[in-house]
């Protein structure tokens, strides 16, 4: 599958060749079809735009009149100030920091482990390799819900009397359970995706490096890693969005402790307790959206590639 259009020379060389889509489009390109496209585009944009505009309107305006009446102003940053620094118990700043603290290790750890494992599955020979790979692959289907209760009780009461990872007394206040859970849940998909990419690298490259006396660790770090960067980026952005936007893992393994909850948990809570405070909700929503939106827009290319490589996340 390819997303790129054919090079211009090919197109102009062939005499007015038309793609199936463009022919089909012609049929659909009557006024109604164009209207449909515009309606879809509007429906997909206006709800977000409305909330964005509201987040800049003063409290009484947001609560008193529709955002479409307030397009000419007045605008204010007061909502953001209140949401970020907590004029009234909102205080998103702490939760944004929690989100960052949760997300970075939860992206780094599974990517590293998965790249190593994917390399082994692709280029190392060991007994039971195929069976093990199929097993890892098959575990993609496990919905994370089915693992949560046992995993949580294992964190609270680990075997062999190891340190309990959950609860207020736990090291890092419980961050470790969230990091560990996100890392584990990401592994099967990450290994599968990176393995697919890795198999596309020509085997002669590795073979010749080995003839030259390079070990697996050298091949991995000097040849594979640079070549794998696009694939790693593709999965990285995927995992980043997943972790940053996650609510379930944070709720279950964060135990509702506000010290370690990410911004999604705070936003959901605000929606429950102060559902009518649209000036706070709108600003809060955009505080939580801005980071993933920036990451997403700047790395969209890699994200699409990851999607096309078949990403299903449990």
């Amino acid at each position: 599958m390819t997303t790129t259009n054919p090079p211009a020379g090919v197109v102009t060389g062939a005499i007015a060749k038309e793609s199936a889509a463009s022919t089909a489009k012609k049929a659909l390109t009557n006024p109604w079809a164009s209207l449909a496209a515009v309606v879809i585009a509007v429906l997909w944009t206006v709800p977000t735009a409305g909330l964005l505009i509201s987040s800049f309107r003063p409290e009484n305006e947001v609560k008193g009149s529709g955002w479409w009446t307030g397009l000419g102003g007045p605008y204010t940053l007061e909502n953001y100030r209140e949401v970020l620094t907590g004029g009234s118990s909102a205080e998103f700043g702490t939760y944004v920091i929690n989100s960052i603290v949760i997300t970075l290790p939860s992206v780094l750890i599974p990517i590293t482990l998965a790249t190593l494992a994917a390399y082994a599955f692709a280029w190392m020979r060991f007994p039971g390799r195929n069976l093990l790979f199929i097993g890892v692959f098959a575990l993609q289907i496990v919905p994370i819900q089915i693992t949560m209760i046992p995993l949580l009780s294992a964190y609270v009461k680990p075997p062999f009397n190891l340190i309990s990872l959950a609860g207020g007394e736990a090291p890092g206040g419980g961050f470790y359970t969230i990091w560990l859970s996100h890392s584990i849940f990401a592994l099967p998909l990450a290994i599968y995706l990176l393995h697919n990419f890795m198999r596309e690298i020509p085997g002669e490259l590795i073979e010749s490096a080995r003839v030259d006396g390079a070990g697996h660790v050298q091949i991995f770090s000097r040849i594979m890693l640079p070549l794998m960067m696009p694939a790693i980026a593709a999965f990285g952005i995927f995992q980043f969005l997943w972790v940053w936007n996650d609510l379930l893992v944070a709720l279950v393994f964060g135990g509702g402790s506000l010290d370690i909850s990410p911004v999604t948990v705070r936003l959901a809570e605000l929606s429950g307790t102060r559902g009518a405070d649209w000036h706070l909700l709108s600003a809060g929503a955009f505080v939580s959206l801005v980071v993933p939106l920036i990451v997403f827009l700047s790395l969209q290319r890699y994200f699409v590639r990851g999607l096309l490589a078949g990403s299903v996340k449990g």
Binding site: S19, A24, W44, T48, P143, A214, G215, V304
Partner: protein, 383 residues
């Protein structure tokens, strides 16, 4: 094909040859000879010391300040780097056949062990727990499952889930497909796609809040702040409680999920449409096929495998989604779905057995779709 690994079974001899890319000159030959010994003796000691220091730090640093949190984060990453880096360092110089095996283990085992401990064991344990009572003490056989299929509230949950799984994939795919065709090769294709694509970057909590605002209810005579009710009012209708009116509120929640998923469908299908070979289209055109017929008989059949992958993938995602219901209605007003009910039973009502049964049910429902999905993906890859 994988590389044969018994190229140099002569032990550590090749280690003295400089590996490709390394800049070691002749003067460092003593160092390269000493290095294996050093790594085997010193590295483990350094690693253990580092681990003890880091673990002590992790246990003592409080996270009630911003710097404390970031410190914990760096400690976690450092712990990880020391463990994995140490393992790689210690195994990197092994060249004998058994050394190869140790090396392989260093690459594979961390991931595989984590998967076994964090996915495989809990999944099996969960299925086992689903046959026990709410506190997990007493074996109750199939009682939990019987409750799921007989309790009135839970039957409603099943109905809602069926509604979600039936509607979300079909609507998202349909909208994604039509939109992909409509904007294909138009001058502003990239921008038009980005508009539909953006909701994918938004958390489901964020998306729910965006739509909750659209659905906001005020009595008809008041000024409206929700767009949907403003539209109704402008058209001369009474305002409507979109999130509270049963059973239609389920549809309005489903709209949110469709809004998020259509971008995914559009991306995959658009790529697939662009990959249709020109000669097929040309042949059909010479046969006088055009317009809607082209769409029906050439475009859709050509992208059939992608269509199925998109449909199944969205079905799986939909079955597991709980954020939307939790944020918009909290499962009230007859809107709960399986994934949300699982959360409520497990972590609010603390009915472990029932929660485990609901999780198992999600798994059982997902299973056939995933298997079908994987087979379709294989077909796609084989093409």
């Amino acid at each position: 094909m994988p590389v044969e690994h018994d190229l140099d079974p002569t032990g550590p001899a090749p280690a003295s040859e400089s590996p490709p890319g390394s800049s070691s000159g002749e003067g460092s030959s003593l160092l390269t000879r000493l290095l294996p010994i050093l790594t085997f003796v010193v590295t483990p000691v350094v690693i253990v010391v580092l681990l003890i220091v880091l673990a002590t730090l992790a246990g003592s640093i409080e996270i009630d300040t911003v710097s404390g949190k970031f410190l914990q984060m760096f400690i976690a990453v450092a712990l990880f780097v020391v463990v994995v880096g140490g393992i790689l360092l210690m195994t990197s110089r092994m060249r004998s056949r058994s050394g190869e095996l140790v090396q392989t283990a260093a690459f594979v085992l961390p991931a595989v062990l984590l998967i076994c401990l964090g996915l495989l064991y809990p999944a099996i344990n969960n299925i086992y727990q689903s046959f026990f009572d709410r506190r997990g003490d007493e074996f109750v056989g199939w009682d939990n499952y019987r409750e799921v299929f007989t309790d009135e509230a839970l039957l409603l949950v099943l109905r809602n889930t069926a509604l979600w799984v039936a509607l979300v994939p079909v609507l998202s795919t349909l909208i994604g497909l039509v939109y992909a065709v409509l904007v294909d090769r138009s001058p502003f294709e990239k921008f038009a796609k980005a508009l539909i694509f953006l909701p994918m970057a938004i958390s489901l909590v964020g998306a729910s809040i965006i739509w909750k605002f659209v659905y906001d209810y005020r009595a008809t005579e008041n000024d409206q702040i929700g767009l949907a009710n403003q539209v109704l009012k402008s058209l001369g209708f009474d305002t409507y409680r979109f999130l509270l009116t049963e059973p239609w509120n389920n549809l309005f929640l489903i709209v949110i999920m469709v809004w998020v998923q259509a971008g995914f469908a559009m991306t995959i299908l658009s790529a697939s449409i662009k990959a249709i070979p020109d000669d097929i289209v040309e042949a059909a055109r010479l046969d006088g096929v055009g317009g809607l017929k082209m769409f029906r008989y050439i475009t859709v059949p050509s992208i059939r495998p992608s269509l199925i992958v998109v449909l199944t993938t969205i079905s799986i995602t939909t079955l597991k989604v709980f954020d939307i219901v939790r944020t918009t209605t909290g499962g009230n007003y007859d809107t709960s779905v399986l994934a949300y009910e699982y959360y409520v039973q497990s972590f609010r009502s603390f009915d472990q057995g029932l929660g485990a049964a609901l999780a198992t049910l999600i798994f059982v429902l997902v299973l056939p779709i995933v298997i079908y999905n994987i087979r379709q993906m294989r077909k796609l890859e084989a093409r």
